[in-house]
C-alpha cells in the first residue's frame, strides 16, 4: 500500500492545492485541496461540476471547482453543519445544521440559503428519495427520523428511532428507510408508506454512515467503534455480513456503478475499498488526516474524500479492478520498537508546558483525540 508523507510536500506561493506525485498502482492521488476547517463530507452539483464540502468547524460550505481543483466560493451556514444532499430536479442543496436543529435549503444557482425547515434535535444524517420527493433526516437527540416533503418543505412525520439516530438510506423499490442509531448500536427499519418502524437490527458499535446500493440490493452501515461495515441484504432484511475495514470508519459511499463501497477511516487516515459482490476489503488507500465522508464525482468517478484533520479534500482515481493480491492492512507504525520522540506540550488545565521527561521510567499511553 502506498504511503503518503504530507509533511514532505510543500505548498508553493499562491498555489490553490498541493499536487502529490503519482504513487502505487491501486490508486492515483490527483490533488489535495485545502478547504474550510474540519470537512466532514461533500456533495456534488453535477450540472456545474462543483463540490460542496461541509466544513463543520468553519460553519460553512466550501465550494470546490472539480475541473480546476480549487476553492471558488463559500456559503456560511449554521453551527456545525453535518450531512448534505442535492436535489438536482429543483436545483437545491439540503444541509443539516446540527446545533441549530434545522435543515437549510440552498439554491445551487444563486448559491445562498433560501429556506429552512425546523426538525427535532440534532439532525445529523440526510437522504433524498428523488422519485417520491421525500427527504429523510436522522435526528440524534430527537431519537427519530424526520420525513419531509421536499417540494413543499413541510415536515410530514417523525418516526421514533433510538438515541443517536443519524445516518439514513432508503430502499426506494421496497419503500423502506434504514436509520442507524449511533449511541445504541442498532438500526431502525421504517415503512415509508405508513411512517412506522417495522424492524430493529443489531449492528456493531457506533454505527454512523448508511448507504443504499441497488447494484448489490443491500444497505451498508459503518460501525465506527468496531472498525467494520455491516451489510444488510434487502431481500431478507437481515445483516448478511460484517466486513472488517480500517480504524474508525465514519463516512461511506458507493462507487458510481455500485460495484464497490468506500469508507473514510477517521482513526488512521485511509479509505477502505470493499467489493459489493464479495464482502471483502480489496485495498486501503492513504489519504489526508482523519478522513470522514467520501463521494464519487458523477462526472469522472474520482473519489472525493473530506479530511477533517488536515482540513483538505483529497481527489483520487481508483484504479482497482478487483482485490489487491496482498491483504489490505494499515501502514505499520513507523516508530514501533523505537524510542518515543520527546514532547513538550501545554497542559490544558494549567497552561504550563509538560515535558515527556516527567514520564521517564513510567509506562503510559498517549491517547490522541479530537472533540468531534
Amino acid at each position: 500500500m502506498a504511503m503518503r508523507d504530507i509533511g514532505s510536500e510543500s505548498m508553493p506561493e499562491g498555489a490553490a492545492c498541493v499536487v502529490p506525485q503519482v504513487r502505487a498502482s491501486g490508486y492515483r492521488l490527483i490533488a489535495e485541496v485545502p478547504t474550510g476547517l474540519g470537512p466532514e463530507g461533500a456533495t456534488v452539483d453535477r450540472a456545474r461540476g462543483l463540490a460542496y464540502v461541509t466544513s463543520s468547524r468553519s460553519h460553512e460550505l466550501t465550494i470546490v471547482d472539480l475541473e480546476r481543483l480549487e476553492v471558488v466560493g463559500r456559503i456560511p451556514v449554521g453551527r456545525e453543519p453535518t450531512d448534505t444532499t442535492v436535489d438536482e430536479r429543483s436545483r437545491r442543496l439540503f444541509v443539516c445544521d446540527m446545533r441549530s436543529s434545522m435543515i437549510r435549503v440552498i439554491d445551487l444557482d444563486a448559491q445562498r440559503t433560501i429556506a429552512t425547515v425546523e426538525v427535532p434535535g440534532y439532525p445529523s444524517g440526510l437522504t433524498l428519495d428523488d422519485e417520491r420527493r421525500r427527504l429523510y433526516c436522522g435526528c440524534a437527540a430527537g431519537a427519530c427520523l424526520a420525513v419531509i416533503d421536499v417540494d413543499a418543505l413541510r415536515l410530514l412525520a417523525t418516526v421514533p428511532c433510538e438515541l443517536g439516530a443519524g445516518g439514513v438510506a432508503v430502499d426506494t423499490r421496497r419503500q423502506r428507510a434504514y436509520c442507524a442509531n449511533m449511541l445504541m448500536g442498532t438500526m431502525t427499519v421504517i415503512d415509508c408508506e405508513t411512517h412506522t418502524a417495522v424492524d430493529r437490527l443489531e449492528l456493531g458499535r457506533g454505527p454512523c454512515a448508511v448507504v443504499a446500493n441497488p447494484a448489490s440490493d443491500s444497505v451498508y452501515v459503518c460501525n465506527a467503534a468496531s472498525d467494520s461495515v455491516s451489510r444488510i441484504d434487502l431481500e431478507t432484511g437481515r445483516v448478511a455480513a460484517e466486513i472488517p475495514v480500517g480504524r474508525g470508519p465514519v463516512g461511506m459511499n458507493t462507487s458510481l456503478n455500485g460495484d464497490r463501497i468506500y469508507t473514510g477511516n477517521r482513526a488512521e487516515g485511509t479509505v477502505s475499498v470493499i467489493g459489493a459482490h464479495d464482502d471483502r476489503e480489496w485495498a486501503r488507500f492513504a489519504v489526508g488526516e482523519a478522513p470522514a465522508g467520501c463521494v464519487a464525482d458523477p462526472r469522472t468517478g474520482y473519489l472525493l474524500v473530506s479530511n477533517a484533520g488536515s482540513s483538505t479534500l483529497t481527489v483520487l482515481e481508483d484504479r482497482l479492478s478487483g482485490p489487491e493480491p496482498a491483504p489490505a492492512a494499515a501502514a505499520p507504525a513507523p516508530l514501533l520498537g523505537r524510542p518515543l520522540p520527546p514532547f513538550e506540550l501545554p497542559d490544558l488545565r494549567t497552561g504550563k508546558l509538560r515535558h515527556s521527561r516527567e514520564w521517564s521510567e513510567r509506562k503510559y499511553i498517549l491517547n490522541f483525540f479530537a472533540s468531534w
Binding site: G38, A225, E268, A290, L348, K363, F368, A370, W372
Partner: protein, 115 residues
C-alpha cells in the same frame, strides 16, 4: 472507558495522557468541554498544530500510542475499546485481572468509543 482504565491502571503505575489534536479553532475550549462532558480527569495536553502527532505518524483519531518504561513505543493504533484494553494488558500484565470489570464499563458507555 478510558477514565475507568486510567484509574485502574494507575494502581500499577501505568498512566494515560490525553493529547488533543486537530480542533481547528478554540482547541482549549473544545477540549475542556469534551473532558467535562465525558468526566475525564486525566492529564490533557494540547497539540494544536498537530506537529507532535505527525512526528509519531498519527494520521487520525482516536489513536493510542503505548510507551514502555524504557521510553520505547511498544504499541500503536488500538482505536476500538477491545484493542485498547488488549494493548494495555500487554503493556501492564497486572491489568489482566481487571479485564472483565473494564469490559463491563464499555457496556455502560453506549457511545462505544475508546474514551
Amino acid at each position: 472507558m478510558i477514565e475507568s482504565l486510567r484509574r485502574r491502571a494507575g494502581q500499577f503505575g501505568l498512566d494515560i495522557v490525553l493529547v488533543n489534536v486537530w480542533e481547528g479553532t478554540g482547541a482549549a475550549e473544545e477540549a475542556a468541554a469534551y473532558c467535562e462532558r465525558w468526566g475525564i480527569e486525566a492529564t490533557v495536553l494540547l497539540d494544536e498544530t498537530a506537529a507532535y502527532a505527525r512526528t509519531l505518524g498519527v494520521r487520525g483519531v482516536p489513536t493510542n500510542v503505548f510507551v514502555n518504561a524504557t521510553g520505547t513505543v511498544a504499541g500503536f493504533g488500538a482505536s476500538t475499546s477491545e484493542e485498547l484494553l488488549q494493548e494495555a494488558v500487554r503493556l501492564e500484565p497486572g491489568l489482566a485481572a481487571a479485564r472483565q470489570e473494564l469490559l463491563a464499563t464499555m457496556a455502560d458507555n453506549p457511545f462505544g468509543f475508546a474514551e
